[in-house]
Structure formats: C-alpha cells, structure tokens
C-alpha cells in the first residue's frame, strides 16, 4: 500500500480540539465544523506521505514522510511548530528495549526533523512544559509497516493517523443518507451506545483504543513524562482520527457537507463519557474516527504561539482573548439551548449571573461588562479607546507608538486626535461624550476605561454639590497614586446636571492649569527637563471622560472648546435585537424578533429603555407593540429641526411622517425655537421646487404661525395653541429630503448670532449719533435712517480718494478734501486709531467702526476697516492739528468773538471751513502777539474776558461783585461786536481800565474750587510714554 503512487498524496488534517473535561456532551454542530475544516492537502513531495496539521495561518506543520527509496524509514518533520520540543526518544513500552529507532535533530526552535532508521513502533515527542502550557506528545508508531502519528495531549489534541487494514475500506457502515447526516449526528450526539454491533468491525484494533483509553485512565502510564499530563488531566483532550485510505481514490476534499457522513461511534471503553469519538465517512470511502474539537484551545494555542503577531493590535484590546471568550460563550449557549437546562451548566458566563437575585434590574444585570459585549457605534467605541490609549504613554509609561498615529493622519475626523503634547497626551485633555439617554454612554466609558487598564472613578455631577468638595475629589483622584491598584480614569456622568455646583468651574480650573503648565513646559523646553519635572504637579495626568446628554447646554459652553467632543449615536437596530433576544431567552421571556425590532425602533435605539420595558412586561409575560411604553424625553429643539428636514425611512407614507414630526414638536413644546430653526435653515436645504413656490408657501405658513402666536400670547386665545405645530409639519412636507443633513450646532448659533450682531450694531448707531452735533441728531432720528442714509455716505466722506505722497506736497484740491474730511470726522467725534496687526504692520482703524453699519460683506468690511495707511495717517495728523486749533479757537471764541462763531456756523462749505481755519489761525497768532506785547494789566483784561462763560458762577458766589464787573464786560462786548477779527489788539485797550486788583479778585473767586488735582493711582512710571528723539525735535 505504501508503495503505491496514490499514496503520494498527503493526507492533511486540521483539527480543532475538544475540551471534554467539563462538558459531558459535545456539540454536534461543532463537530461538523471540525469536519469542514479538514483541509486540502498541500503536496509536499511525490514520494512522501504524511500528515500536516495546519491552521489557517500555517502555524504548525507536521509532516510524516516516507522515503520511497528506503521503505520503512521515516522522516518526521515538524515545521513552524508553536512549541519548542523536547525529545523523548524511544519512549514507550516497546521501543525501550530496542536500540534507538529514531534520531531527532532540532533544526530551530520550532522546527525539528526526525528520522527513523526503520519504522518505529512508537516514537514520542513531548512539548516542553517550560515554554508552553500545553504539553503534548507526538507519537510516531508503526503497525504492520504502516506509519501513524499520534499526537496526544497536544494543543491540537491527539491526532492519530493510522492506516487500517484495507479490508475495512469496503465495509458498508449502513450510515444514514448523506443529506441528513447532520441531523442524525445531532440526534445521536448525547448517546454513545446506539451504534450497531457490526460497526465494531471498522473500529481500529481494540488495543489501539485501549491504549488511548489507558492513557486517559492511568495518567498515561505508557509515557514516561507523567508530569506533562498531570497538569492536564482535567481537561483531557483527545482527538482520535482514523483515516482509511482507499486504494483507488485519494480525491480530496475528504469531507464536505454533501459527500461526507458522520455518525457517532460507540467505543467499548468510552462509556464513562470522557471520550467522544465519531466516525466519519467521506464520499470516497475514507473513514475517520475523530474526537470533536474545541476551538477554544486551538485559539489559545494560536495566541500563545504567535503572541507578538497578535498582541500588537492597536487598541490595546486583546482581540484574541475576546474572540475566545465569545466562542466559548457561544458554545455554552448552544449547549444550554440544546440541553434545555441552562442552570445546571456552570460556565464562566453563567457564574457571572448565577447569584443574581430576582429583584435586580435587568439593566444592571445585563449591562455590558466586557468590550465584546458592547453594542453601539463601533467607530465611537474605537475613537474613545484610542483617545484613552493616547494617555497610556504618560500613565503606564508605554512607549509611544508612532504607527497608529501615522495611520490616523489620513483620517480627517480623527486627525484632531493626532496632536499630542510633550507628554504625548491627547491634544484635548477632556473627552466629552454626548448622546441621547440610554444608548450606553456610561457603559461604554466604563468598559473602555477598564479595557485600557484603568480603574474607574465615577462621579455623578448631578449628585455632587459644592465646588470645593468636587475639587478635592477630582484632584485627589488625579494626583494621588494608589499603591497596588491601577491608575484611575475619572468618569464624570451627567455633567450637564452639575452646572450650578461649580463642577464645570473645577474642571476648567484643572484644564487651564494644565495648559498653563504645558506652556511653561514648552517654554523651558525639553533640554531643561529637571525644571519641567518640578512643575508636573500641575499637569493633568489622568484621563477624564465627561458624559452628558446635550452638549449645547449653556453650562457646558465654556467647557466645549477645551474638550474632545465625541457624539455617541444609537446602535443600529439589527445590533440591538440579538442582544435583547438573548436577554429574553435567558430570562425565559419569549418574544419574537419582530416585536423586539419594533420595540427598539419605538425607543429610538435606547437600549436601557428597551431592557426596562422588557422587564416591566415580564410580569405579564407578554410583549405586544401596544404595551410598549414611550418615555418622556426632553428633545433638543435643534434635533427636531434636523428631523424636520429629513425623510424618515421608518415612516411609510408622507402623511404618517408628517404626523410623527408634528407629534415630536408637540411633545417638546418648543414651538418658537423649532419654527425659528426651520425658518433659518430651510434656504440651505435641498428641495425640489418650481418658481419659488415652496418658499412662498413657507412664508404663508410662517405668517400663519406668527398670527397664531400673536393671538395666543397677546389676546390669550390659548386654544389656538393646538395649531402651533402645523407649520412645522408643513415645512417637513415641503423641504424634507434624504440628502439633507443638518449640523445641529449650525442652527444653535445663527439665531443667537443675529441677535448679538443686532445688539452691537444698535450700540454702534447710538455711539455714532450720540457724538454728532445736535442738528445732525435732529435729522437722523432713528437707527434705520442712520444705517441707510448716514453711515454709507459718512463712510465715503471719511475715506476720501487721495493720493498723498508727502505731507508737504499736496494738491490744493486734496488739501481741501482732507480738511473737509477732518472737519466731518471731528463733528462726529470719529478718530483713526493706530493699531498693530498680527503681522507687525500698523494700520489705522476707524473708531467708531462705521464700516460695520455701512458695508455688508466681511471682505469689504475688512478692507474698509484698514483703508489706506498713508491717507489715514495724513488725515489723522491733520486732525490732531485741527483739534488743537479748535481748542485754542474755542477759547478765542469764548473770549467774546462771537462774530467769529457766527461766521463759523455760516460757513459750512468747503472753502468756508478752510478759510475759517486759516482765519482762526490768524486770530490765534494775533492774540498771542497782543498778549506778548501788552503788560500785566492788559493780560488781566484778557483774562477777564476769558472767564466770561463763568459769569453766572461768579454771580452766584459773589453777587456783590456784580456791579464792578458789569461795565467792563459790557464795554468789552461792545468792543468785540464792533471790532473786526483783526481788531483784537484793541481789546487790550478797553480792558486797560480794569485794574490789576480787580483781576486778582476775580482770580481769587475763580480759584475757589476751580483748581484741583486728580490723583492717579499707582506708580507714576506706569503712565510714562515713549518719546522719540524726533518727536522731541519736531516740537522745538
């Protein structure tokens, strides 16, 4: 048989392992899976025959090869084995007496080559217990010249390939028809003794099984290395495979669904239930007796074998372990369902819930405790976990992994997370997780934190009152390092409830002190590490997760820019339903999937609500859609607006969907906000329209709404309130579409922004008109006329189109324009203020910024605000000069030259202003000349004229002095009215009569309460201003 060419094809078997210590019965479906995984052989050589144990990753290969030239000699090659081998050469009853049959050489750690001089009876290899948890033996045995490998107690379980006498191949087993082999198997699974007697014929020789059984019973006395097995006695795994090779047909696959047959096989010594053998027959006639496998151990093997490969999973999640858990759970569940006795099976999963009392809330009972149990938006889960992982550098002193960062750069959404600080923490130190209630935010935060290796400190912000208390608690948790426990991750639940307790303030304090510390750290730079370390007390070194329902609550406004905001969306219904179903099954509540789907949809994905509803209905043991309760949810108006513009896929027809929207609006009772939101957002929505018909109609509806609300709030027709929601329904019917997606915050802002802008503009208007002359105030009474009629022109007037090159070389026309501008600006109390820009240049800005009123587009505004530097500088200088001039002129005017004032009022034209300026300058000069020329008495007269406006004051304080003053004053005025503007020099002459004494008296009175010091607080240095050398010289 071995010489034949057909045998050259290898038989390859991949087996999963069965764990039979705990489980009395094997799951038939698992067994069938085992059959399916028997894989196609890979031809490794023409003249070899052997078996190869593979898994999908080709982790392990065992090849048994017979060299064709020298029959009876075997090469036994183990490639890529997960284990380091120790060789127990010639172990076994038979081989101990003979000379060594085989020599083994370890090629590498995981590869070994064995060659036997002649086909050995038994050659045993054993796994090294030091390096693996799964000691195993590989037994190489021959019987009647046929080679067989038995792998015993290996993680791959014992696989024995044995060639049987060819006579058995033809044996008809009388198996059930191929179609229902699976059913047959399931039916037969629990039983071992149904096999008819004649089938014993096909069994391997008795002693072979005996051996196997003995090995089990007597702790493998036939192997010298008892200790290897003793560790494993509880979970004894055996897989016995018998393959019978037919002469003619070596077609593979050996087994597939249709052509193979499997049935239980009763073995004489297996009645104690410890072993579970099955016999399978392929279409080609080959038969196998095999033990069911356990994927659990196989996976464990895989994990331990290639730890590096699997452990680098980027989220710090032990995926392999999770997978194992899932599978184990899966299997247990199936078993339980199969056996209909869930309580008796004590698995790890059940133990978790075994001692649950009846009174416990299901929500708590079935809360997800492990990463795999989470249902929900997986991307959010991952983002959350990734954010937590970014802390691990500073918390766990893990090396920073550059690889995940690189991958994330491409993703714009997660790109925000990439920025890290000197501690390689996430850019934003606080994570704000928000979403509707009941979706599992808290659960996710807890699980993720635990998954990332933290202990969770949960603080419920709505419970904790008092800022100082909270501060102590948080700071304590962050700063202290507890011995022997894991670091703490703080989860602040319902942070939106903690507004008044100063919770937010505490968080802000912590975050700002951290950012300050970080900045200091930056400044002191990396080389000064000692300095940096000193300041670490201020750093926030533990992750903080805040959870809230609505991130737009005003209390959170200050926190929002500092936090990484993560929106938690509802899990898709198909994800939730199986979980609910499982819970129902466990709680012996029988609900069909459709009802559950309905429940989930009606709850809008609120898992907690679903579970609560289930438990609530548990008493009646029935769940119908009618009994499903809706809970009272406070929905953000913005969410409703978003809903208005979206087509609801769940609602069948339009009418239904409109009704749903209306109902939603009515339930929220925020009509104004929703309608305003609709009104603001509909222009940016996509909708099919013809000739603006829809906006027109929308306008009608809005009018309707306004009328309604007017009569409700003004005239108390409260019964009309019932119709308030219908305009929203109309909006939904007109503007909803599938492609509309609404950013919630976009609506939240616009209204408020408009309000703010309006307020600031109104202030601006008030400022402009307030400083204008009374006449101007008269002509522009209300704000709108100022905006429409004054501001735009003013804008043009104060921004003349000049082309200044040099202050001294100015065209006459331009000079006039400048003067005019200056005049207008002074009248409106406008100024050009020099400011330093970010880029270091200086600009002149208008103050007040009338461009805000006059212009609309922001670009225009920006341009207008800055203007041309040279022009404005020119105007500004001119203005300063003019102001001085005016100030002095005002004195002159006050001194009595009212004619000048009248003249000035009259001259409003350009020339007039200019002329007047010149005139006044002239007056000023003359005045000074006169002053200088005349003696003290002259001065006295002048002074007396100066204080003319204060006459009333003088009168009041010193009425008896009225008389002496009067004549002089009158004469003075006389002189003024008769005098021309240049006749001021004569002024002295008139006042010369007034004696110095009188002037002194007058001064004395005026001084009373007239001279005083306004003290400036602080250092006088604080008011020093830089004076350049040129400034100094210019005025000289």
């Amino acid at each position: 048989m071995e010489g034949e060419e057909e045998l050259a094809t290898d038989l390859l078997f991949a087996f999963d392992l069965i764990e039979d210590g705990d489980v009395p019965e094997e799951d038939p479906s698992v067994t069938s899976a085992a059959i399916a995984t028997i894989s196609q052989p890979s031809t490794s050589g023409v003249s070899t025959k052997g078996s190869e144990i593979t898994d999908s990753g080709a982790a392990c290969q065992i090849q048994l090869m017979e060299k064709q030239q020298e029959q009876g000699e075997w090469d036994f090659v183990i490639k890529d084995s997960p284990f380091d081998f120790v060789i127990n050469d010639n172990v076994g009853q038979d081989s101990s007496t003979k000379s060594p049959l085989a020599t083994a050489s370890t090629i590498s750690m995981n590869e070994m080559k064995l060659s036997a001089r002649e086909a050995p009876d038994t050659l045993t290899l054993a796994g090294d217990t030091e390096t693996t948890d799964f000691p195993f033996r590989i037994t190489l045995a021959t019987e009647d010249g046929e080679a067989a490998i038995a792998i015993e107690d290996s993680p791959l379980d014992k696989i024995e390939k044995k060639s049987l006498p060819s006579a058995l191949a033809e044996d008809d087993l009388g198996l059930p028809p191929p179609d229902d082999w699976h059913a047959q198997m399931i039916k037969d699974a629990p039983d071992f003794d149904v096999l008819p007697e004649e089938e014993f014929d096909i069994l391997p020789p008795e002693e072979e099984f005996d051996n196997a059984q003995n090995a089990d019973d007597t702790q493998d006395e036939n192997f010298a290395t008892d200790d290897l097995d003793s560790a494993n006695t509880v979970q004894r795994r055996k897989c016995y495979l018998e393959a019978q090779q037919s002469n003619s047909d070596s077609q593979i696959p050996l087994f597939d669904g249709q052509s193979s047959e499997v049935r239980p096989l009763t073995l004489p010594h297996s009645d104690h239930g410890n072993a579970f053998y099955r016999k399978a027959k392929g279409s080609n006639g080959r038969e196998i007796v095999l033990r069911a496998r356990s994927r659990f151990l196989f996976n464990t093997l895989r994990e331990s074998s290639s730890g590096d490969k699997y452990k680098r999973s980027s989220y710090g999640v032990d995926i392999e372990k999770i997978m194992l858990d899932i599978e184990k759970e899966d299997r247990d569940k199936k078993l339980r369902i199969l056996q209909n006795e869930p309580e008796t099976v004590s698995t790890k999963y059940d133990a978790l819930f075994a001692n649950n009392s009846e009174g416990e809330l299901w929500v708590e009972k079935w809360r997800a405790k492990k990463w795999i149990d989470l249902i929900g938006d997986e991307r959010t889960h991952r983002t959350l976990l990734r954010w937590l992982q970014q802390w691990s550098h500073v918390v766990f002193k893990n090396p920073v992994s550059a690889a995940p960062n690189k991958r994330r750069v491409g993703n714009s959404n997660a790109g925000k997370l990439v920025q890290t600080d000197p501690f390689h923490r996430p850019h934003k130190k606080l994570l704000l997780l928000h979403g509707a209630p009941g979706l599992g935010k808290t659960t996710v935060a807890h699980v993720a934190a635990r998954q990332a290796g933290y202990d969770v400190l949960e603080i419920n912000a709505s419970d904790e009152r008092g800022g100082a208390l909270v501060h102590d608690k948080i700071r304590g948790a962050i700063d202290s390092h507890r011995v022997g426990t894991k670091p703490v991750c703080i989860i602040i639940d319902e942070i939106d409830g903690g507004a008044e307790s100063g919770f937010i303030r505490v968080l802000l304090d912590i975050l700002s002190s951290d950012s300050k510390a970080t900045q200091q750290g930056h400044r002191t730079s990396a080389n000064d590490s000692k300095n940096k370390r000193k300041k670490t007390a201020k750093y926030l070194l533990r992750p903080v997760i805040a959870i809230c329902n609505d991130p737009f609550v005003s209390a959170l406004r200050s926190l929002r820019p500092l936090a990484e905001i993560l929106s938690y969306r509802r899990a898709p219904t198909p994800n939730i339903v199986p979980r609910l179903k499982e819970i129902c099954a466990r709680e012996k509540l029988f609900v069909d999937s459709r009802t559950l789907t309905e429940l989930v949809d009606s709850m809008d994905g609120d898992v907690r609500g679903c579970i609560n509803t289930l438990q609530f209905d548990m008493s009646g043991k029935r769940i119908g859609s009618s009994s499903v309760g809706q809970k009272d949810v406070n929905v953000n108006p913005n969410v409703i607006v978003g809903r208005v513009f979206k087509v609801d896929k769940h609602c069948g027809n339009k009418e239904e969907s409109i009704r749903a929207v209306i109902e939603k609006v009515e339930r929220s009772a925020e009509f104004d906000k929703v309608v305003t939101g609709c009104f603001t957002m509909y222009p940016s929505m996509y909708y099919a329209d013809d000739m603006l018909a829809k906006p027109v109609e929308a306008g009608e509806w809005l009018h309707f709404y306004d009328t309604l609300s007017h009569s409700i709030y003004q005239d108390q027709h409260l019964d009309l309130a019932a119709y308030l929601s219908y305009p929203v329904g109309a909006f939904h019917s007109m503007f909803s579409s599938n492609s509309n997606s609404l950013k919630e915050y976009a609506i939240a802002k616009t209204d408020y922004e408009a309000y703010e802008a309006k307020k600031s503009n109104k202030d601006l208007v008030k400022q402009i008109i307030g400083s204008a002359s009374a006449a101007t105030q008269q002509s522009f009474r209300n704000g709108s006329t100022i905006c429409t009629e004054l501001a735009p022109y003013l804008m043009h007037i104060v921004n003349p189109k000049l082309n200044p090159v040099n202050a001294s070389i100015v065209l006459e026309q331009e000079r006039i324009m400048t003067m005019h501008t200056v005049d207008v600006m002074i009248d409106f109390a406008m100024k050009y203020i020099q400011q330093r820009c970010d880029n270091g240049t200086y600009v002149f800005r208008m103050d007040p910024p009338i461009e805000q009123l006059a212009l609309f587009s922001t670009q225009d505004k920006d341009r207008a605000a800055v203007g041309k530097y040279l022009i404005r500088q020119c105007i500004s200088q001119e203005m300063e000069r003019n102001m001085l001039l005016r100030a002095s002129k005002r004195n002159v005017v006050a001194a009595g030259s009212q004619t000048l004032g009248v003249k000035r009022r009259k001259s409003d034209s350009l020339d007039g202003v200019d002329h007047e300026a010149q005139e006044s300058e002239e007056d000023f000069r003359l005045l000074h000349k006169a002053k200088r020329k005349h003696s003290a008495s002259n001065k006295a007269g002048l002074m007396s004229s100066f204080f003319k406006p204060d006459r009333t004051h003088v009168d009041v304080t010193d009425p008896e002095e009225e008389k002496p003053i009067n004549p002089s004053r009158i004469s003075f005025f006389k002189s003024q009215t008769s005098a021309t503007s240049t006749g001021l020099s004569g002024l002295g002459g008139h006042s010369r009569q007034n004696s110095l004494q009188e002037w002194q008296e007058r001064m004395k009175q005026l001084r009373e309460g007239r001279v005083w010091v306004q003290f400036h607080e602080g250092f006088s240095n604080a008011v020093r201003k830089p004076v350049t050398w040129s400034d100094f010289w210019r005025d000289l």
Binding site: K931, E1008, R1010, W1012, V1013, S1020, W1029
Partner: protein, 134 residues
C-alpha cells in the same frame, strides 16, 4: 535724526529773589515739582497765561502743597538722577547761522537750566475743608 548745535552757558545769571531754598532752586530761581496726577484748571492747558495754583510750604525735607481750596498734598525733596536739563531753542538769523557753522535746518539749542532736585508729591491729595486762602 535731526541734529542741532548746543550752547551751554556755564554760569547763568542767578536770581536771588527766588522763594525757594538754595537746595532746590535752579540758577534762574525755579524749582521742579512733580505731582502724580492731573492738574485741572478752569483754563485750557494750552494757554500760556499763568494762573495761581496754590501754596507751597517747605519744612526741611518735607513739603506741603496746597492746591485750590480743598486739597493738600505732602511731598518731599528728592534728588534727580540724572539731572534734568531744560533746553531752549534759539532762533537766529540766517546770516548769523552761516557764520557759526550751525546745523543746516537752523536749529540751535541752548541749555537754560540744569535741575538737580525736585519736590515730589506722590501721595493722594488730602481733602481740606473750607480753607480760606490769604
């Protein structure tokens, strides 16, 4: 940067009629007073006409300044370091300028005074009730 010629009169005429004690006064008989605050008068500050502010009394190192009717400040005499120079621009005729090689733009400066001490009032003015000035 503009430049100018400096003239320094080494020995300016002293005015012995000054009220100030010798320590304080400058050669021309003036003294420097520093007030931390703004002095408000009924007249605009741009005007160069003198107006009486108040009374200054000196008592050793401390000084009292009475401003108006209702304020009194306490101050002290302090050294000015560096000293304060008072400059005056001297305008000359063109011909004169060409003779002395003055600066091109015709500016010439003369040091009038060097002030070495000042009376410094840093404290807040104390309110005084209804004090009649003599």
């Amino acid at each position: 940067m503009p430049s100018a010629t400096f003239a320094f009169n080494v020995c300016p005429a002293t005015d012995e009629s000054s009220y100030f004690p010798r320590v304080l006064r400058t050669p021309t008989g003036l003294a420097l007073i520093e007030i931390q605050g703004t002095l408000h008068t009924a007249q605009p500050s741009s005007d160069s006409t003198p107006s009486e502010l108040g009374k200054l009394t000196l008592d050793g190192k401390t000084a009292w300044l009475w401003i108006g009717d209702h304020q009194r400040m306490e101050g002290s005499i302090v050294d000015l370091n560096p000293p304060f120079g008072v400059l005056r621009r001297v305008t000359r005729k063109q011909s004169e300028m060409e003779e002395e090689n003055g600066s091109p733009d015709g500016t010439a400066v003369e040091i009038v005074e060097v002030i070495r001490k000042k009376i410094l009032f840093t404290s807040r003015p104390e309110p005084i009730v209804n004090r009649k000035m003599t």
